[in-house]
Symmetry: C2
Subunit: 505 residues, 2 copies
C-alpha cells in the first residue's frame, strides 16, 4: 500500500512508523509488527505504532532516524508492506520450548538483534528463555562468536595484544587507569574498551572521560594502541559487539544478568579487539555479583573454557569485592584517586595491590616476568606508569600535564562522622553507590563518595567515616538523607538501621 | 524536575512522554522506565521515550491520551518524577525464578497489567515465565479471580444465567448465532460476550456485527439479556476482564497460548458475567488447538476443576475440530450460513449438530430436559430459534427482518475445482483461514471461503471444491494465488503440494 509521508520529529531507539488503525488493518499488521518501507531503491524496516485522531488515512508518520536512513522528505510517497517474521523468530520459539539452538540459529538471532529486526517482545522472549533455561557451553561459544562477527573488529598485525575486564559489581574499581599504562609501558598492546555506568556510580569510561576523550572509533583505538601501547575508550562509541547493548536494554530493567550473556558479552568484546591474553577480574564477596569463592571458581572455569574455544588465553582473578576498591567512588573522585596514586607512587592498598596484581598476571601470562606482581610494582614505583598514562591521555585528546589537585571535584560536601569509638565492621557496596548516585554521579562528574574509613579500621567518635561530594546543593541534601537513613559505613556497636526513619529537617 | 509541555499528537497504546537524553539522565531514568507526571492535583504514569534533536532540554513531549487524562495543554508546566518499580515487579522476578506466586502477588501483577503500570519488557517477562514454568491450579484460580476483580462484572438478580465459550482454533465456528437464541427462547439468560478475530478469519463478534451492533456496554448487555434472554456482544467494547487483552498483546506476537492463560481468560469472562452454568467447546483434531482427545480430556478436566473453585458448573464438550464447522468461513458468509439455517430449519450437519448439541448440554445441566439435544432440536425446528434471533438482532440495533439472501457478500468470486474424480481426504483449517484472510476477512466483511466439499465427500473432476469471495479484485487475486499454491481442500490422489511454486500469470 502506498502512503504519503509525514515526518515525525522523534528519533526512537527502534525505527518507528505511525499509521491509523484502518490502514494497519488494510495492510494486515498490528501494533508492534514490522513493515518494510520502500522508497526508490532504498528500503528499511520499522515497527508499527497505531495513531488515533492524528493522521489521516493514507498518511504515514515516519520517525526522523527512519526518514534519514532512506532520505525521505515530508509529503513524499512510500510503499509499505508487511514483513513476515524473520527466520530467527522460529529459533526464539525453539529456545522458548527449552531446546538447544544450533550455531546457525544463534547467528541468525544475533544478526537480527543487531539489525533491529526483532520486536521488543521477541527480544525479551529470547533473553528470558536464555535466562530460564540457560545455555550450554556450545551455545555460549556460538553466541560469543556471533556477537563478534556482527560487529566491528580490530586486528593487530604486530605486537602482543592483551586485555583485562572486570565483570563489575564492586564500586570504585578504577584499576584500568593503572593497569593499562603499566602494561603498555612494558611494550605490550592493550586496546581497552570500557563501559559507562548503568546502575553503578561510575564506569571506567565515565572515569577516564574526566581526563580525556573516550568516544573513539575503532580506527582511533587501533592507531593509538599501536602508537602509545594502550587506550581506555568507551566501547559504546564503537560498533564492537553491538548486540550486547541491545540485549542489556532488556536485562537491565528486569534486573537479570544471565550467566550465558555475562560470559558472551565480556569475551566478545575481548575477542573483537584481537586480544590474545586476557585477565578477567571476578570480584567476589557479599554485595558483589558473585557471593562466594565457590561460585567465583565456577564462573572462572567457564571463562577459561570459553577462552579456549575462542583461541584466547584467559586467566581469572578472583578479587575481594565485599567493599569498594580504594577510597573514591564517582567519576572525578576516581580519576583523582588514580592520578594521585600514580603521582605519589602509592595509594590505598586495595586499589594499588589489585591494579598491580592484575597487571602482574598479564606479565606472567605473556612470559614477561616470573614474578609479575614485582615486575608491575617496579614499573609503577619507577614512575613509568604515570608517564605512560600521560601519553595515553594526550593521545586521547586530554591534557597530559593535568595534576590530581586540578581534577574538578564537586564543591558541595558533607562529612558523615562516627558517632562512637569502635571499628568499621561493614561498608555496603550498594549503599555507597546509592549515595553517590543520589549526589549526582555519574552524570555530575564531580559527585561521589570518598571513604575515610573502610572495614577493619579503628575509629574514634567524631572521625570522618566518609565525605559526600556533589555539584548541586539539592542533590547533596538528597544524598545526605539517604546516607543517614541507610548508612553505607557501619561502625561496630552502631544501630544498623532505624525504621521507619524520621528526621526533623 | 519541572518541564514545559509540548503535546505530541499521538495516542500510543501505552501513555508515553518524550524527553531529551540529558533530562532523562537528570531525573535518573532510562528509555522504557516509568515516570509520574503531576499536574495540579492530578497525576498519571507514563513510559519514557528518548528524543534526540527534537525537543529542547526542559521540554517534555506528552502523548495525546496522556495529556487528555490530566487535562494538560501545550506550554503548561508539569512536574515529572521517576517512579520506583511497582511491587508487582518483585513478584514477576519471583516467577522468573520459577517460584509459585501467592494470591496477593498475582492480584498485584494483574492490577498493574490493567493499569498499564508494567513496561512491555516486564509484561513479556511475566507471560513468558508463566508459559515456561506453567502455573498450578491455585495460581490459575487466583489469576482468574484477579482478572474478574480488576474489571467490570454483571450480576443478575433473577433468572438462570448460562453461557458458552469455545477455546477457538477451528474456522467457521459460528454456532453461537444458533446456541444463544435457542437457549434464550427456553427462558434462560445467556449474556454472551465474544471476541473479534486476531489470527482467524472471523470472530463471533465480527460475524454478529454483520447483522447488528456488537459494541455494547456492560449495562446494555445486562438490559438486553434481561429483556430478550440473550445477547451476542463484543467483549472488547466492555471492561470485562481487561487484563486479558493486554496479555494477548504479548502472547499473539510470540505465537504462544499458555494453558494457564487460556483457562483463566475463558473462565474470567464467564465468571464476570455471572454465569452459573457454562459449556466449554474444546475443538479437537489435527490443525486445531488441541491435537488429540487425550489432551482435550486433560484440558477439560482443568476447566471443570477451575469452575468448581470459582463456583461455576462447567461441562466441556470435546468437538471435532479437524476441519471447519459448517461450510462458510468469513464474517458475512458465516452470518449468511447461520441465518439461512435458521430460516430453512436445516443446514450443514457439522454446524447444526454442534449448535444443538452444545445447547442440549446446557439444557441438561440446568434440568430443562433429560434429552437436551432433542429439546434443542424441537426449538430449532419449530422456528423459535429464528424468532428469538430476530429479537436479539433488533435489541442490538439491527434489522430484525433481514433475510439471509440480503446479507452482503463480496461480489468478486473464484471457484476452485477438483482436478480429478475422487474423495476429499483433507480440509486444512490453517489454509482455509489463510485464503479467507488474504481475500480480506475479517476486515472486508464480505470476504471469505465457502466450502462445497468437505472431508469424505465424493467429487467428480470439475466439481467446485470451494469458492473464494472478496470485495476487492486484488485481494481475490492474492487469495487465489495462495489457494493454488497451498490447496486448502485435498482430493485424494492429488499432488499435495508443489515446491517451489511457479505460475505463469
Amino acid at each position: 500500500m502506498k502512503f504519503k509521508v509525514k515526518i515525525i520529529p522523534i528519533r526512537s531507539v527502534r525505527p518507528t512508523v505511525i499509521m491509523t488503525k484502518s490502514d494497519a488493518d488494510e495492510i494486515g499488521v498490528f501494533e508492534g509488527d514490522r513493515v518494510r518501507i520502500l522508497f526508490g531503491r532504498k528500503s528499511s524496516t520499522a515497527t508499527v505504532q497505531i495513531a488515533l485522531g492524528f493522521l489521516e488515512r493514507g498518511v504515514i508518520g515516519v520517525c526522523l532516524n527512519c526518514a534519514e536512513n532512506l532520505g525521505i522528505e515530508d509529503g513524499e510517497e512510500i510503499e509499505v508492506l508487511p514483513v513476515p517474521k524473520p527466520a530467527s523468530f522460529e529459533y526464539i520459539r525453539k529456545k522458548l520450548e527449552g531446546k538447544k539452538l544450533t550455531r546457525e540459529e544463534i547467528y541468525e538471532i544475533v544478526k537480527d538483534i543487531v539489525n533491529d529486526a526483532l520486536t521488543e517482545v521477541e527480544l525479551t522472549a529470547f533473553v528470558i528463555s536464555s535466562y530460564v533455561y540457560g545455555m550450554d557451553m556450545d551455545e555460549i561459544e556460538w553466541m560469543t562468536k556471533a556477537m563478534i562477527e556482527t560487529g566491528e573488529t580490530i586486528e593487530f598485525e604486530e605486537g602482543i595484544v592483551v586485555d583485562k575486564h572486570s565483570i563489575g559489581g564492586v564500586p570504585g574499581n578504577k584499576i584500568s587507569l593503572i593497569v593499562v599504562p603499566t602494561i603498555a609501558s612494558a611494550g605490550l598492546l592493550i586496546p581497552k574498551t570500557a563501559s559507562r555506568a548503568i546502575t553503578s556510580a561510575s564506569g571506567t569510561a565515565d572515569t577516564m572521560e574526566v581526563l580525556a576523550n573516550v568516544n573513539l572509533s575503532v580506527e582511533e583505538i587501533k592507531e593509538i594502541t599501536l602508537r602509545v601501547g594502550g587506550v581506555i575508550a568507551w566501547g559504546g562509541a564503537t560498533n564492537i559487539a553491538p548486540a550486547d547493548d541491545k540485549i542489556i536494554r532488556v536485562e537491565y530493567p528486569l534486573a537479570i544478568d544471565p550467566r550465558s550473556q555475562l560470559l558472551a558479552s565480556v569475551m566478545a568484546k575481548k575477542g573483537a579487539v584481537g586480544a590474545e591474553y586476557v585477565v578477567i577480574d571476578v570480584p567476589v564477596g557479599e554485595g558483589s555479583k558473585v557471593p562466594n569463592v565457590e561460585d567465583g571458581k565456577k564462573l572462572a572455569n567457564d571463562f577459561v573454557e570459553l577462552g579456549r574455544r575462542l583461541g584466547l588465553n584467559v586467566t581469572c582473578a578472583l578479587t575481594y569485592g565485599g567493599q569498594p576498591v580504594g577510597r573514591a567512588v564517582g567519576p572525578a573522585l576516581e580519576a583523582w584517586e588514580a592520578l594521585k596514586a600514580m603521582e605519589e607512587r602509592k595509594g590505598a592498598k586495595s586499589f594499588i595491590e589489585k591494579s598491580l596484581g592484575i597487571s602482574g598476571i598479564l606479565f606472567e601470562m605473556v612470559g614477561k616476568a616470573l614474578n609479575g606482581y614485582e615486575y608491575a610494582k617496579q614499573i609503577f614505583e619507577s614512575g613509568k606508569t604515570l608517564e605512560k598514562f600521560k601519553e595515553i591521555v594526550e593521545a586521547q585528546g586530554g591534557n597530559p600535564n593535568v595534576k590530581s589537585d586540578e581534577v574538578p571535584i564537586g564543591d558541595k560536601t558533607y562529612d558523615v562522622l562516627s558517632p562512637i569509638d569502635g571499628a568499621v565492621s561493614r561498608v555496603y557496596n550498594d549503599r555507597v553507590v546509592r549515595v553517590a548516585r543520589a549526589a549526582g554521579a555519574p552524570k555530575d562528574k564531580g559527585a561521589g563518595v570518598l571513604l575515610f574509613k573502610k572495614s577493619g579500621f579503628h575509629v574514634k567518635k567524631g572521625d570522618i567515616l566518609f565525605r559526600i561530594y556533589a555539584e548541586k546543593e539539592w542533590k547533596l541534601d538528597k544524598a545526605v538523607e539517604i546516607a543517614l537513613k541507610e548508612p553505607p559505613v557501619i561502625v561496630s556497636g552502631m544501630i544498623l538501621e532505624r525504621y521507619p526513619y524520621h528526621r526533623v529537617m
